[in-house]
């Protein structure tokens, strides 16, 4: 096992690049940052090509690009630098690098002040996001997990809209408190394990927790209750990030105020941190508890789906619409996770990728329209198809992708989740619950079609005084790339699905669970 490997190299490139960009002149910062970010893209694509991992990284599978080095000792716990990739983290790593580059390109137009700082912060965030999806030591992971907030805070707070400070502080405090809650839950588990573990190594902890009888009492709490308490705390902590009803209210504010490229990353990657962590922690380490409480968890998922969609229906701001619909889409992920079926886990993970790409695409295309019209309110725009035919074409494609049009990535993710959830033996009344959740696809069609009819079609009209012309090429290129990815993953989900399935299958075996 190497001490440092390609993962560190990617992080280092982004990190060093960030500081180079900080020092670069504003005019060229965007270009430099984009060029720098191409290195992680190329690197992660290379890793995808030569990926040789198998099984689940936390449950004793073969990790690819693993590296480990002893670091510090906290009491009797060893903290080690430990990173590696399995079939779940590699697609998310790819999503991060690709989406970052595209978001950087799409920033060229809208970001017109303090460019070097903006691009530097985005690269800084990329570095920490890579860390979140690759770290295998809790301590290291937590550092990255928290560090992501810092660039995001500034990106919203400095370059955001009129209420940016409110949104940035709300985002920061909300997610930070969530981390605290989660941290307490996880540490209770670690202490409850007592002498079974002597490090914060996630695989070691996960395997210990899945071994019956390893978890002892902690603070006078018996193991069963301890599991429940820890599960609840961690679920609440991660649910904020996902976000799950009723912990979602930071999201619309953050999205509306954030500049478009930041929204792209926020919806595309940051939300996936929540579901990724849920998968890695709650549903890998505490399966017993998850299964015992499946009814409650699935209720959160289904309510998020329907409630988020209904809220989206009531919005006037295009970005708010997409923001609320993200809540809805991420609800499906919860539904898939709690199903405890191969397609449930696989579909949920695939949906993270699919939703990352599609919501990123939709935010980006809203941003392109905003760049030209300087408004996002549905009532202010009409007949954009007249002036920006190709952009509108992409908008329509993205919207249909969001509605789950077959042969686009969103359908694959949602269908697999439905397939997994329907057959679940864990969810009470699984067919009925799944059926209810699926009604989201009708509502999502309702509000997106309505918004498109109002803004894209009809007679051309604009409430703001701007000349609308075709978008510049560098605005359209990211859209086209994303759309191509969405279609490619929809036509052939196995591009990433096979490795995902391979990585989630071990979740259904062994541990405290009987294999059914």
């Amino acid at each position: 096992m190497a001490i440092a490997g390609p993962v560190e190299a990617l992080m280092a490139v982004a990190l060093v690049g960030a500081f180079v960009v900080f020092l670069a002149p504003d005019d060229s910062a965007g270009r430099i940052a984009t060029l720098v970010s191409l290195v992680p893209v190329a690197g992660s694509l290379w890793m995808y090509a030569v990926f040789d991992g198998s099984g689940n990284g936390l449950l004793g599978g073969d990790l690819a690009f693993e590296s480990s080095a002893a670091w510090i000792a906290l009491g009797r716990y060893e903290v080690a630098w430990h990173v590696g990739l399995d079939g779940i983290s590699l697609p998310l790593l790819l999503l991060t690098t690709v989406l970052t580059t595209l978001a950087l390109v799409s920033s060229w137009t809208p970001i017109d002040e303090r460019q070097s700082q903006f691009y530097g912060l985005v690269l800084l965030m990329e570095a920490s996001l890579i860390g979140v999806f690759t770290a295998l030591d809790f301590f290291v992971w937590l550092v990255f997990w928290e560090f992501v907030l810092i660039p995001m805070y500034f990106l919203i707070g400095v370059w955001g809209g009129p209420r940016r400070k409110y949104a940035a502080i709300k985002f920061f405090v909300y997610t930070n408190v969530a981390t605290l809650v989660m941290f307490v839950g996880f540490m209770a588990l670690v202490f409850g394990l007592g002498d079974s573990v002597s490090s914060f190594d996630l695989p070691a902890i996960a395997q210990a927790l899945r071994t019956p009888g390893e978890l002892g009492t902690f603070f006078g709490i018996d193991p069963g209750t301890l599991r429940l308490v820890a599960f609840t705390l961690m679920f609440a902590g991660f649910a904020v990030k996902v976000p799950v009803f009723p912990l979602h209210t930071w999201l619309p504010d953050a999205h509306v105020e954030a500049p478009t490229p930041v929204s792209v990353l926020l919806a595309g990657v940051l939300l996936k941190m929540g579901t990724y962590a849920l998968l890695r922690f709650n549903f890998t380490m505490l399966q017993e508890t998850a299964i015992a409480n499946a009814g409650v968890i699935v209720a959160f998922g289904v309510v998020s789906v329907i409630y988020g969609a209904l809220l989206a229906l009531a919005q006037q701001d295009l970005k708010r619409i997409v923001a609320y619909s993200s809540i809805s889409s991420m609800g499906y992920v919860i539904l898939g996770l709690v199903a405890f079926t191969p397609y449930g886990f696989g579909g949920a993970t695939f949906q993270m990728i699919a939703h990352g790409l599609i919501s990123g695409l939709l935010f980006m295309v809203v941003g392109v329209i905003y760049n030209e019209t300087h408004t996002r309110m549905v009532g202010d725009i009409s007949g954009m198809a007249d002036r920006m035919p190709w952009t509108v074409g992409v908008f329509v494609a993205a919207a249909f992708g969001y509605m789950g049009l077959p042969l686009m990535a969103g359908f694959a993710g949602e269908y697999l989740i439905f397939q997994g959830a329907f057959a679940s033996t864990v969810i009470p009344a699984a067919p009925l619950v799944t059926g209810v959740a699926m009604f989201g696809i009708v509502i999502v069609a309702g509000y997106l079609l309505w918004a498109m009819q109002r803004t894209l079609f009809g007679e051309y009209r604009l409430a703001t005084d701007y000349d609308v012309s075709r978008a510049p090429v560098h605005d359209v290129v990211p859209l086209v790339v994303l759309l191509a990815l969405v279609v490619a993953l929809g036509v052939q989900p196995r591009l990433v699905y096979d490795m995902i399935q391979d990585a989630v299958n071990p979740l259904l075996h062994g541990g405290v669970l009987p294999w059914w």
Binding site: L311, D386, Y415, M438, F439, I443, L456, N505
Partner: protein, 688 residues
């Protein structure tokens, strides 16, 4: 085995290629992308005909084909594998020919309707047509339910794009939205059904795939489960009785059918969809896309035949829709609106036939209807060109002499639609009603009665159909011209007349493929379609097999009754309808007799207020609900969040006052704290 079946994917891929070419290169082509579409659909047509001939055993020995070609997602570990595959049997081969033929003719017709009229955005138009043809053809040869669903949805997308083609106006985008949304509502149930079928049977195959190991189809598994125990068949019925559960699944899938085939109560989108260009109406909303729903039921008929409840529901929906839509067609003033309601009504007949066990009759009517309805729409398109895009029939009149080709072909289509012997519609509609009648009489119990109810509604609808059809013909072509445009209509070119002629001949003759009454009377075996569908390599998709299933599981049996008398009854009704129309409207200067209907006319013009009801559901229920949710979210959920933050802010502002900057106060606090601490120590006995 290199043969025609290796080329079947190309039937769909060619139009898809045309989509790509038209979209990106259409701008630089002389006909703005039409060339690509015409060539591609011609190729598809040729391949389809070749396929049909091969299935008939004329050009090759292998008369069927069913294989998985592509793995979409492989779940592994006991999860089902989701494949794309191709199923070619008599039914799909026939449907491929119909779809590609109509698509080809519509492409040609579009040259006259769109290019010659100087429309802009044509590459987009032809790209849409190409994508539509591709999706529909792929839907037709799908070999499993998931693939069928996927292309079913893509067909919906194309419908959205094409209805909303004239996006600069207000109405088309709205109609497009409505079409997609209403069908999406149906597809929601369909999707649950698809998921349910996969979860129940572990496969979505329509027919078994022969290979190293034979993969069973889900209708077969359902049959086994009903015959024996569910466990033995490896079927998970989620705790329900297999019969009940299969009925639920069947009805869920039926949701998609009702949406796409515009059956009551999800038919409201189709009349609105007439906002699209007329060739699109012909292709999508008459001949093919709407056929997708009915085709789907036919495709998985082996599953529906197991459930008497599902059959009864199908038959009742069909019969009711046939009558219901026909009554609304009577009062409409726009040419295309009348045709739209007739479409809904005719698909009702097909559903009636399917529900009544008349599988062949449904396919027969599907075939003839595709031909004559495409003809009528293209004829209407020709009239619309001539009338400079004026669609109100009251502004027409007397076009008979000025556009004879259109008139005679349109008349052929109308006679077929009205069901006048010997045009195509007569034979097929007659058989639909005949099947409904004999199965209604022959079946025991509730289903027999329900089928007879369906039959009665269908029979009444015959009169209305004939009436509104000829009201339309007389108002448009007969009498005196009522406006200047009608006196001097714009001439149409070969690219309009050509497709009309082909279809006009078709409308008169397609019925001859299955003249059951004639076969009965003469004793000659000329009911070719019956024979075509009755046999086949894949035994589980033949009518012979369906007959057994209907008998064994659904208790639907035919009574012994000759086809001649019922045929005569429906012919008399049709002639009565034509006669009534003749009397009222075949005059030089017809009046609006519908005014005499009084309040009934208002109700009919408003389509029984169903649109209002659905709009109310959307804007009167859903939107306020969404607003309420938004208020709740902003007020309560976010309010709690902001409340917590304001509590801490408020607390902070209070605690800040302690930080007065006066040392004395700090010292006091320290002192007090010390006192408190000491007291605590004392009380706790010095041990904490």
């Amino acid at each position: 085995m290199a043969g025609v079946y290796d080329f079947v994917p190309a039937v769909a891929l060619l139009p898809f290629l045309a989509f790509v070419v038209s979209l990106f290169a259409g701008e630089y082509m002389p006909k703005r992308g039409a060339e690509a579409g015409i060539i591609a659909t011609a190729g598809s047509l040729a391949l389809s005909v070749w396929t049909l001939l091969t299935v008939a055993g004329i050009t090759g020995p292998a008369t069927s084909f069913n294989e998985n070609l592509y793995t979409w997602v492989a779940g592994g570990e006991g999860a089902v594998t989701l494949n794309f595959g191709i199923l070619v049997d008599p039914l799909s081969a026939l449907m491929l020919v119909i779809v590609s033929l109509i698509a080809f003719l519509v492409h040609v017709f579009s040259l006259g309707y769109m290019n010659d009229e100087g429309e802009t955005g044509l590459p987009r138009y032809y790209a849409g047509l190409g994508l539509f043809s591709a999706s529909m053809l792929a839907f037709v040869f799908s070999n499993n339910l998931l693939m069928a669903f996927m292309f079913f949805e893509l067909v919906g997308l194309c419908s959205y794009l094409l209805i909303g083609f004239w996006f600069r106006e207000a109405a088309p985008p709205s109609a497009a939205k409505k079409a997609f949304l209403v069908t999406r509502f149906g597809d929601y149930f369909f999707l649950i059904g698809v998921v349910g079928v996969f979860a129940t049977f572990g496969t979505g195959l329509f027919a078994p795939v022969e290979g190293a190991e034979t993969l069973a189809s889900f209708p077969e598994l359902a049959e086994e489960a009903l015959a024996g125990s569910a466990e033995e068949a490896g079927v998970n019925t989620f705790g329900y009785d297999p019969g009940t559960w299969f009925t639920i699944l069947g009805l869920l899938v039926l949701g998609g059918v009702v949406g796409k085939s515009a059956q009551f109560p999800l038919h409201t989108w189709l009349p609105d969809a007439m906002e699209g260009p007329t060739p699109v109406s012909a292709l999508i909303h008459a001949a093919t896309m709407v056929a997708a729903g009915v085709y789907l039921v036919a495709r998985m008929y082996g599953f529906y035949a197991l459930s008497p409840t599902a059959l009864a529901v199908i038959a009742l929906i069909g019969g009711f829709t046939a009558l219901f839509a026909a009554t609304m067609g009577v009062v409409k003033q726009e040419l295309k609106q009348v045709l739209a309601y007739s479409t809904i009504s005719q698909y009702g007949y097909m559903m009636l036939a399917l529900g009544a066990g008349g599988y062949t009759a449904a396919v027969f009517h599907l075939t003839t209807h595709a031909v004559f309805k495409a003809l009528l729409f293209l004829g209407a398109g020709s009239v619309i060109i001539a009338m400079h895009h004026e669609e109100n029939m009251w502004t027409m009149g007397g076009l008979r002499d000025r556009m004879p080709v259109t008139y005679y072909t349109f008349l052929s289509g109308s006679l077929a639609l009205a069901g006048i012997v010997p045009f195509a519609g007569f034979w097929s509609k007659d058989e639909v009603l005949f099947e409904a009648l004999i199965h209604g009489l022959g079946s025991e119990g509730a289903i027999g009665t329900l089928l007879l109810v369906g039959y009665a509604m269908g029979l009444v609808a015959v009169f209305f159909t004939a009436f509104y059809t000829f009201r339309m013909v007389f108002l448009t072509f007969h009498g005196e011209p009522r406006t200047d445009t009608a006196r001097d209509p714009e001439p149409v070119r070969w690219n309009v007349k050509g497709p009309l002629t082909v279809l006009g001949i078709g409308a008169a003759t397609v019925g001859f493929i299955n003249m059951v009454p004639v076969a009965e009377v003469t004793g000659r075996e000329i009911d070719y379609l019956h024979k075509w569908l009755a046999h086949g390599d894949i035994s589980v998709t033949t009518t012979e097999h369906y007959g057994e299933l209907l008998h064994t599981f659904a208790g639907v049996d035919p009574a012994e009754l000759g086809p001649v008398a019922p045929g005569a009854v429906s012919l008399v009704l049709a002639l009565a309808g034509v006669g009534a129309a003749w009397k009222l409207y075949n005059v030089p200067d017809p009046e609006e007799h519908t005014d005499k209907l009084g309040g009934a006319k208002t109700v009919l013009m408003h389509n029984y207020y169903l649109d209002e009801f659905q709009v109310w559901l959307a804007t009167g229920v859903t939107v306020p609900l969404a607003r309420a949710a938004d208020k709740f979210d902003q007020g309560v959920v976010d309010g709690v969040v902001n409340g917590i933050s304001s509590v801490s802010l408020f607390g902070g502002s209070r605690f800040r006052r302690i930080q007065s900057g006066v040392v004395t106060n700090y010292a006091t606090l320290m002192t007090l704290s010390l006192v408190l601490l000491l007291v605590v120590f004392v009380v706790a006995g010095g041990v904490v």
